[in-house]
Symmetry: C2
Subunit: 227 residues, 2 copies
DNA sequence: ATACGATTCAAACGTTCGTTTCCTACATAC
DNA sequence: GTATGTAGGAAACGAACGTTTGAATCGTAT
């Protein structure tokens, strides 16, 4: 339990988590067998159950490892924004950026498994398993609450209900963008080169989200008339 | 092979497809076993392999049954728009509507399994399996090409590359919205009542997408400066 | 009545799944 | 030295998987 023993102590766990990110991203949770997973990680078949307890517990540990620091970072970025604004309302674009860039920067993490995780995460928002969706929702809850309040303050003229929906759409756009880093082919004709240019992607995505969030409100009559 | 024999002939197939939509949506492809599927459908375990050949072939048939008519309907709606416009460029909002409303109207299909299918479809755009994503892409290809051209004509000032990305974002927003009809809780505080009001949802989603699509372009300098 | 193709059925196929067991290896503490 | 607790490894567990088989059943045409 001494300090100089810590690294080898956790090495197996880390190898398992890294392999899990890669394989769960490639083949899904149910599509990845423990045998495939442990042999990719270069550990014994029993290692997952020894270190994590079960496959489900491994999945939970996998998301906690990345998501908790990510959301802490997001909240810190928002805190910094608000400190600098000194009480003045924040620009919606700045709030969006502080949320989005945390995810996008991880896409460029080539050597670390960040990119694998991000794609996996984007897809898991709509995972079939209620249990997994609940886990993700729970891990996101603190940051989400914080950002909802911030957007509410920045857009005081917008009805709360409308805001909730627009945040939902924004969140969905981000999730899909993260998950579909190679589904771009669906909308054929995309150049390969800038697919992973996270900086350019952040600009494109941000301006889309800002426009969507600030788009003109429709009054009830408009809605009824269109129906 | 006579006409009066057709209904019972296809009843088992239909029962299987309906049950598959429900269970694949609830538990995913790999999470749904043939035993669970066939017992839910009220048919024999061997029926799937007899009528479809394999589980994979069933998945393909499932998507073809709904997606082909949907895309035909979409293209027809676009044709009608262009006929009525008599050569004048179409309003982007009208194009968006003709794509989106086909999906959203199916959400309200309670008794038919339309809602199940739509949620399943929205999630499958980012399915782990390359094979399945390729299938979806192939089934969408004709309609997608058609809509890309229509948007290109409606937005001649927009660089093709930018347009491609915005269509990608729009498609993602729609996909997530369809898939996450109960993940709305992530952005907590949503009223239950209007969750499935497809008409209201269409208005909200359309105005978000229109705003995002038409949002201000950023010139290269803006992008660089922000980086 | 008989023959025949299409469909349904119970049972079994071999494989793979997540998990567990039990043994060994190796530290550190006494 | 011996004891002790942590980690790795080989083998096996029972259960569940997708698929196949061969016989039974049905409706229809001869």
């Amino acid at each position: 339990m001494d300090l100089h023993a810590i690294k080898p102590q956790h090495e197996t766990r880390t190898r398992i988590l890294d392999a899990a990110e890669e394989l769960f991203m490639k083949h899904g949770f149910e599509g990845t067998s423990m045998r495939h997973l442990t042999s990719t990680a270069g550990v014994n078949l029993a290692a997952v159950n020894y270190h994590f307890g079960s496959k489900d517990a491994l999945i939970e540990a996998l998301f906690r490892r990345r998501l908790d620091p990510m959301n802490i970072e997001r909240i810190a970025a928002l805190d910094k924004l608000e400190r600098e604004a000194e009480g003045k309302p924040l620009a919606p674009e700045a709030i969006i950026r502080s949320f989005v860039s945390t995810s996008l920067r991880m896409i460029e993490d080539e050597q670390g498994g960040g990119r694998n995780f991000i794609r996996l995460l984007g897809r898991t928002y709509t995972d079939p398993s209620k249990h997994i969706r609940a886990l993700i929702g729970q891990l996101y809850a603190p940051a989400m609450e914080r950002f909802k309040v911030a957007f509410g303050r920045a857009l005081q003229h917008m009805p709360r209900e409308e805001l909730t929906w627009r945040l939902h759409f924004m969140f969905g756009t981000l999730a899909y963008t993260l998950a579909a880093t190679d589904t771009v082919q669906l909308i054929a004709g995309c150049k390969q080169e800038d697919r992973y240019d996270a900086c350019l992607l952040e600009e494109r995505l941000t301006s889309f989200l800002v426009a969507g969030l600030l788009g003109p409100l429709r009054c009830r009559e408009d809605v009824r008339k269109a129906a």
